[in-house]
């Protein structure tokens, strides 16, 4: 089967200064071009975390999350070089707040040993799904974690919410039901994947002069910038997420109001950005899931010469149909219009035959979501001097 990764029109990319466009309140998401693998870095909005400089003044910083390290050294070098490549906009990374190893496949943890060695003692939390995988990389990661001082080890399941500054991280998968079945050898390791919803701002309370904290009224998900990072979860895992996070239609009934109050009236399976699961395999997503998330951007991390034939054409059809409903009318989608649907691939080229490479997506509560491409191949580091911003229209 010939995998068709459509080219995005050259004319829709504008060369610009990436770092000049970034504001302190922005969440910056990087999905690095690592072929059929995942390596993601999130620089969360700046905040005061109680750190002070020599003069006793608060030092603001961006918390850092790393979600998977799928190749040898790319993500570690990326973090190392950020102060330089950002022209000083980003301070040296002294602490990684959370490292997530979504699941122990080599294309997601091959770079973890390098990361754990280079950032030894500077990783606050390490999350993995608790799936035992007898690979050399897994054993090495366990040994290196045993030597980390001060790192909290976590095996999260669906529903866990971690607040980091003004960012809310919600674990969507795996469900605890899936995790309890790992040892039967009956759970595909892909379905053990930790998938996350990351949203900012998390704040839902306001200060009123001379009053106690008050709940913000009328705040819903549309004023958040949110991402769903799908790891390699398949339908079995997503189906349980759809049970754990039910879609609720707005209603004035008392019970609906009560559920709404408990969930802050949000749909945890909605997001502005979806990092498509499993490199675009045909099991990675299903139509109902993507239709419900309705992301503005659907990002696929895959190789141009995938040994597994990623992205699968079935997956591409699902993404297209979810964003442009033609099936009922019997019409077919024009693959070359994927960019209009917000579907992009790390291994993609533009119509000028230039590699588009890693994604950077920037957003805040102002609705100012921007998607950039950093022009690198899997073997290269992103080059911010080549950064180009996607111009939707």
């Amino acid at each position: 089967m010939i995998v068709a990764i459509p080219r995005a029109p050259l004319s829709r990319f504008a060369k610009s200064d990436f770092w000049a466009s970034v504001k302190p309140e922005h969440l910056i998401y990087f999905c690095l071009n690592v072929g059929d693998a995942d390596s993601q870095v999130l620089l969360l909005p700046e905040g005061d975390f109680g750190e002070k400089d020599a003069a006793g003044q608060p030092v603001l910083r961006r918390p850092v999350m790393v979600v998977d390290a799928g190749t040898g050294t790319k993500v570690t070098k990326f973090l190392d070089k950020l102060p330089l490549t950002s022209g000083g906009t980003i301070a040296p990374v002294d602490l990684i707040d959370v490292v997530v190893a979504s699941h122990p496949h080599g294309d997601h943890i091959a770079g973890m040993p390098d990361l754990l060695e280079k950032f030894a003692g500077r990783i606050a939390e390490y999350w993995d799904p608790g799936y035992f995988h007898p690979s050399g990389t897994y054993f090495t990661v366990m040994e290196l974690l045993a030597q980390q001082s001060g790192t909290v080890y976590v095996q999260p399941t669906s529903g866990l919410r971690r607040f980091i500054g003004n960012t809310e991280v919600t674990v969507l998968t795996p469900s605890v039901g899936l995790r309890n079945r790992y040892d039967t050898y009956g759970v595909d390791v892909n379905n053990a994947s930790i998938s996350l919803r990351v949203a900012t701002p998390a704040g839902r309370a306001k200060i009123v002069p001379n009053e106690a904290w008050q709940l913000l009224e009328g705040v819903d998900d549309r004023v958040q910038f949110s991402l769903i990072l799908g790891a390699d979860a398949h339908t079995e895992s997503w189906s349980q997420a759809m049970v754990d996070f039910p879609q609720l239609v707005k209603s004035n009934s008392e019970i609906a109001k009560a559920i709404g109050a408990a969930t802050n009236n949000r749909d945890f399976l909605s997001a502005d950005v979806l990092k498509v699961s499993h490199h675009g395999s045909k099991k990675g997503v299903n139509y109902e899931l993507v239709d419900r998330i309705q992301p503005k951007f659907l990002l696929v991390s895959c190789s141009a010469n995938s040994s597994h034939g990623f992205p699968h054409s079935l997956n591409q059809h699902i993404l297209r149909e979810a964003k442009e409903k033609l099936a009922k009318a019997g019409a077919t989608h024009n693959p070359d219009e994927d960019h209009l649907r917000g579907v992009f691939y790390t291994s993609q080229k533009d119509t000028g035959d230039v590699t588009l490479g890693s994604f950077a997506v920037v957003g805040s509560n102002h609705g100012d979501i921007e998607m950039w491409r950093l022009g690198d191949t899997p073997a290269q580091q992103p080059d911010f001097s080549k950064a180009r911003r996607w111009v939707a229209s």
């Binding site: 007898p134 050399g136 054993f139 366990m142 045993a146 050898y185 040994s307 034939g309």
Partner: protein
């Protein structure tokens, strides 16, 4: 079971002094080296590989391989040379046929005939590990290595449990009440300070 730093230090001393000499309390020792992954025959260039099935997508299988690991004598974790990692994707039915034909040490048809699964571990002697048609022998270690992976996670996440430590507790207390000056109270990896 919780021990004070002093008790842990005492027990560590006891372990050093007695346990390694006593079969009853002997810790698992690093196994005999498999020639650091190399064949003992000077003519052969076969390497003993540790092969794990990492991903199966329908008829395509991705495997990862390393020279056979040693047990790190200090940490007791399996120690792999990650600089020699081989990752390769091959035809699943072809790989299954090779594994079934060459597999040794398993008489149980359930093991020898079953389909490949993610997490299967094989000891393979081969020159070119990426080409299963050249594999010379295959030994199935799946069950043992999965348990070792599970043990590695628990060893990382929780304080290690020394087999027979309950029997040593009394000895430790006796020692701590006696010649304290002779006891090194420096926390160790096996017995960190609490």
């Amino acid at each position: 079971m919780q021990f004070s730093a002093q008790q842990r230090a005492d027990i560590t001393e006891l372990v050093d002094r007695y346990v390694h000499e006593s079969p009853e309390y002997r810790l698992p020792e690093p196994g005999p080296a498999k020639s650091k992954g190399k064949s003992s025959s000077p003519k052969a260039r076969d390497i003993t590989w540790y092969v794990v099935i990492d991903e199966i997508i329908e008829l395509r299988v991705t495997a990862e391989a390393w020279p056979w690991p040693q047990v790190d004598p200090d940490t007791r974790f399996l120690s792999f040379d990650l600089s020699k990692t081989k990752r390769f994707t091959v035809d699943g039915p072809d790989l299954h046929r090779v594994v079934s034909e060459k597999r040794k040490g398993a008489d149980d048809p359930e093991v020898t005939e079953r389909s490949l699964r993610i997490g299967d571990v094989f000891e393979v002697r081969a020159e070119r590990i990426q080409d299963p048609s050249t594999w010379k022998s295959v030994q199935d270690h799946t069950e043992k290595k999965r348990k070792e992976a599970q043990a590695a996670m628990h060893a990382m996440a929780t304080p290690p449990h020394l087999e027979g430590i309950d029997k040593l507790e009394d000895l430790g207390r006796q020692l701590s009440g006696g010649d304290r000056a002779a006891v090194d109270v420096t926390p160790t990896q096996a017995f960190p300070a609490v």
